[in-house]
Symmetry: C2
Subunit: 248 residues, 2 copies
DNA sequence: AGCTTAAAGTGTCACAGAGACACAATAATA
DNA sequence: TATTATTGTGTCTCTGTGACACTTTAAGCT
């Protein structure tokens, strides 16, 4: 046990849960933990130290799970239904693990602050935590049930992502430095859940002036080699301020 | 003292703060409390009972402060900086009030969940709480400093309101049942912080088909009497789903 | 009663962005 | 060298937006 779970170390009643999104092989993926004993799937999460902010707590958790230090993190909702942890299977995991940890910490009522994170899939090295024996990416479209209300948390994170697509650096954070236009389009299509016209997408995204086209092309496919692009950070940050069009 | 403030009654470390917006005489207003002893201005807030959700806690607080039962409430951010309540003046208020309340409850570190509320100004009957001797509306553009980090909370609430203007029922909740086009436009202008062309605004808002024009007109002004409108709830709810245009 | 004032109702025009779609170019493979 | 799959580029039309003009009318004044 790395640390004791008690109120000497952590704020009572408060937890953070993180929905970590990655994008790989044209699929949107989420990082999940498999519990050692109950085998349930869970979002990475943790507690808040007596003297840290919730943002720092979430960041600490994600550094441990992904190996990455600089992660884009965003609060999106607090989950506080008194019933949400009624049948907390994690408690069973503690008991089964045969620790002398006082389970009363886990039997408290928790209010959980949901964060979503956007990471470069290729740079993550998944690490399970003390209660899990696996930490791995799952495709968003072939997802089993999660423990507690984590299904609901994930669903809300996705919904938030969709809404914030026009004013958060979602493309920039989820794609590797260099990427092709079809890759970027696929990311947008996946998040929005609908297909877009290839030519209109390109025209529109280029009109924002947030991309720089490189000389380089991506070869390997049995077709014309697409150009590689990278984000023009200066223009991108500026454009996000205004929200990439739309509205009044 | 209506209730004891201790961990038999409330969840430790957790509070809610509410930014209550109202609209009256073409001004956006916020409901604030004036502390009895320190005279500081504060947002209405409270704590979360052992068995209630944060939404219910916020609602309970607002029923007490406004007399209204059906209030539009929306979480917008959690404020958790460990320094946020360093110099908690409310504690001074407790001491000055000469109560035998244990001040240790107020000396805890609190993580506060920010809610914004939209209410019909004309229906609110402001009620101070135990620590304040006044509860009243303040114009948003002539605001003094607030206690703790409440300035920051208010600022963030306003920013959220602006962003969510296109997909939350902001007009519907802030205006009385019947209203004129200039009133609606003024509300939009106030929230967006810029002026809009009268004719284009009307054309655009009408194109959404979310308003029903009544036969009735509003007389009294020294000018042509404007029509009254009311929201067409069916169409409005539907339109909000899609986000009133813009985006992909 | 008639004139003035202020603000509302209604309409036009030019332009830019969005959606639908066509055709030429090219990297792998057969 | 032809085939296949997919990319690069361009066009046409229509709708929504921004800028702006003219008419209408409730109150107040003389």
């Amino acid at each position: 046990m790395p640390v004791e779970f008690n109120e000497e170390s952590f704020l009572k009643h408060i937890s953070v849960d993180c929905v970590v999104f990655g994008f790989h092989e044209n699929q949107l993926k989420v990082l999940l933990l498999q519990m050692k004993y109950t085998r349930g799937l869970a979002l990475p999460g943790g507690f808040v130290k007596l003297n840290e902010s919730i943002e720092l707590a979430a960041k600490r958790v994600l550094i441990e799970r992904t190996g990455l230090d600089d992660i884009f993190l965003k609060q999106f909702k607090v989950f506080s239904d008194p019933e949400r942890a009624e049948k907390n299977l994690a408690v069973q995991d503690i008991i089964d693990s045969g620790l002398d940890q006082d389970v009363s910490w886990f039997n408290q009522r928790f209010i959980s602050i949901g964060f979503y994170a956007l990471v470069d899939f290729t740079k993550v090295i998944p690490q399970p935590d003390f209660f899990s024996d696996a930490c791995c990416w799952k495709n968003l479209d072939e997802l089993e049930a999660l423990i507690l209300d984590h299904d609901q948390i994930l669903k809300k994170a996705l919904h938030t992502l969709r809404i914030q697509l026009t004013y958060q650096p979602i493309g920039y954070k989820l794609l590797p430095e260099k990427f092709t236009m079809p890759e970027l389009q696929c990311l947008y299509e996946t998040i929005l859940g609908k297909s877009l016209d290839r030519r209109n997408f390109q025209r529109k995204i280029l009109s924002y002036n947030i991309l720089d086209r490189l000389e380089e092309r991506k070869t390997g496919g049995a077709n014309k080699a697409p150009f590689l692009y990278k984000f023009n950070l200066t223009n991108y940050q500026q454009a996000l301020q205004d929200g990439l069009r739309g509205g009044w």
